[in-house]
């Protein structure tokens, strides 16, 4: 029988993988994929709690908004990565290093 714990374990694993991806990837697009994992791990939590724990729909409603926000955020982030590529001909983050000090 699959219960709340299983969902929480999956979401915790996804969250950790997302953080790992963000920290280790050089390519900006891969980092954004890590961000998506983080957001979706929270979505799994919200829906699972709504289904098994709290008995109300607030969590599912929240998850729908998160999906919308994630789309908006990625749209803006990809536009910025595209500009990076136009200006430097690379999607690699460690080559964006003129601001320091």
């Amino acid at each position: 029988m699959i219960g709340l714990q299983h969902y929480l374990l999956v979401s915790a694993a996804l969250f950790s993988l997302g953080i790992l991806g963000v920290l280790t990837r050089r390519n900006a697009v891969n980092v954004l994929m890590g961000v998506e994992l983080i957001l979706n791990s929270a979505n799994i939590n919200l829906v699972a709690f709504s289904r098994y724990g709290t008995g109300n729909l607030q969590g599912q409603l929240f998850a729908v908004f998160v999906i919308v926000i994630a789309a908006a955020e990625v749209a803006v982030a990809l536009a910025i990565v595209l500009t990076l590529y136009r200006l430097r001909h690379t999607p690699n983050l460690d080559e964006a290093d003129i601001l320091r000090g």
Partner: protein, 497 residues
Amino acid sequence: MQEVAHSLSRFHPEVVLTAALLLVVLVDSSGVRFRNVVNQVLTVAALAAALVFSIRLTGSSGETWSGLLVVDPLGVFFKMLLVGASLLVALVFTFRNSRELQGLGQGEFYALLLAVTLSNLLLAASNDLAMLYLSLEMVSITSYVMVAYMKGDRMSNEASLKYVLFGAVSTGAMLYGLSLLYGLAGTTSLPGIRAFLAAGISDANLFAVYAIAFLVLAGFGFKTATVPFHFWCPDVYEGAPTPVTAFLSVAPKAAGFAIMTRFFFQGFSTQAGGPWGHVAAIDWPRVLMLVSVATMTVGNVAALTQTNMKRLLAYSSIAHAGYIMMGVVALSEDGARALQIYLLAYVFMNLGAFLVVTLIHNQDGTFDLRDYPGMYRRAPLLTLAMAVFLLSLMGIPPLIGFMGKFYVFAAIIEKGPSYGWYAVVGAVNAAIAAYYYARVLKTMIIDAGNETRPAFRIPAVDMAWVLFFAAANVVPLLFWGAIDGWTRQSLVLFAGR
């Protein structure tokens, strides 16, 4: 229906801003000849109208939109502060006096300014986790675009790239925390969470509450630029166009502190007829105290060696976030009031300092402190105004910045001897800060150099605004009784049902 009508009647500032935002986009895409002038007038008019509507909300209190948002005296104070700061930015930092923005489209700038202001208002009034997350992301996403405004500029692009990646991760971590909080408390409304936590929770869940607090602090820390989520701040402030930097250093930071206060006071504290106290589950003032100490120390120490004025002011703004946080840590009415007064003072001193930096960049094309010698000879009035802003940031007595520091330190000392070391650390930090502000002044006034460069030619309008900001750092002290009374009235948080 009645609920909607009731909510709408307390939603005028937001409605005006939304309408103006759509109009600005329409006018800009219509290709009318005077569209830039029309857009600036529209923006200023809308912000002024929103300010008037916010002032008219004074005294009202209650939940709106089925408890998603809340109108209360503290929220109304922040509405005025946030709209006022945007209005000043729209009036003062125009395309005319910014060399960086010249030649770029103007309509988008005003549309984005209105969008950030709108989302700031929603953030400061959020009473529900979903609304909190939505408005926080709306502030962030629109600010990413503002930072990237000079799209052919590598620094602006790099700044926004760092901002968006850092922001996405910290708000993502915050969202994970919020989802756990929803699972724990079974509701997304802040009053509901307070009721759940105040009833006491089992020991097994204590760890979860701490984890939630740390994850949520990631989001708030990012928005207010506090350690250890401040790394984006210097790079973003340096790379963004200066008008955007000035705006970001003031408005989203204030909104971040508004929601931090609301989240912790409303969700994690109790006030059963007496003084405020944190919920038994987590001693969050201790956690925030450590964050605040680290923030002011890191900000001030890193600022010591900066030579770029925008970076220096970025680290100074990190340090100020540490002082402002003292007001949240105090967890008392005096603390909340100190927070309000500090933010009010911060708007005037920081916008003033950034205005001077912009004007110097227009004349000389430099943000480097090493190009500042001889400034007093070339532009005496501007240098004196900068002295006022820097002394105010330092916290020297007859200026408004001193009042901010005075109130936060008083609120902390009131808490008793166990908070004494915190006040001492704050005072030591203020002394460190005095060094680098004084170094800027010494460079501008005493150091010799740039003898061949011509005297400054500053348009009368810009000079008038510089003097306005300088006056705003002094004049309020003459009417301090009125300001004190005004902030005292706007202390009340809506307690919820």
